[in-house]
Symmetry: C2
Subunit: 114 residues, 2 copies
């Protein structure tokens, strides 16, 4: 898979997104990451491997422990890809805004004519 | 799967992203979407089903044809999720900027001392 596909795939699971949210607050060991989830160690390890392969996290040895650290680069890449489409929802808002303004304008002119 | 997981999963394939890019330029029939890809009709249909399930596209009947239309809502949802992390790369840029400014400042003061 290409990088962007790896990133989007890694983000397509609520446990992996919860792990990233936890890591956005600071580094954590594998044990600390596993704690809030009712999940077996191999299941958590599998999620961490997918996150690591996509480059969303990296592991660092700290004595006997392995700390996981969030990496922002793939998140930025995914965000930039989505940014290309942002004019779609911005245009929708602008259209809604225009419609509302037109409705308010119409109401005012109707009131004026009364 | 939840909506966000569906969206990120749908985006985790380059063919599906290429289909969305094509649809961002306007509606297209299934045949028109299949044309640029050396792929069987069932393979394209499978990709379209994943995109439809995630809400990224919707199909509309046009006589004998079925037109595909891009839907911005899931893209907006994914973009907003990623937005929460944007301070990470913005902070990194700010830090790099500070480092560069400090380096330039140091060079200038060293030059001044010569």
């Amino acid at each position: 898979m290409d990088n962007l596909s790896d990133t989007f795939f890694a983000l397509s699971d609520p446990t992996r997104r919860a792990i990233l949210l936890r890591l956005s607050k600071g580094e954590a060991t594998v044990g600390e990451l596993a704690m809030p989830f009712e999940m077996s160690a191999p299941a958590i390890t599998k999620h961490l491997k997918i996150l690591e392969r996509s480059g969303l996290i990296r592991k660092e040895k700290d004595g006997q422990l392995r700390r996981c650290i969030l990496q922002e680069k793939p998140l930025k890449g995914a965000s930039e890809w989505l940014e290309h489409y942002s004019h779609f929802w911005e245009d929708s808002f602008a259209q809604l805004d225009d419609t509302l303004k037109a409705m308010v304008g119409k109401d005012h002119s109707e009131e004026g004519a009364k």
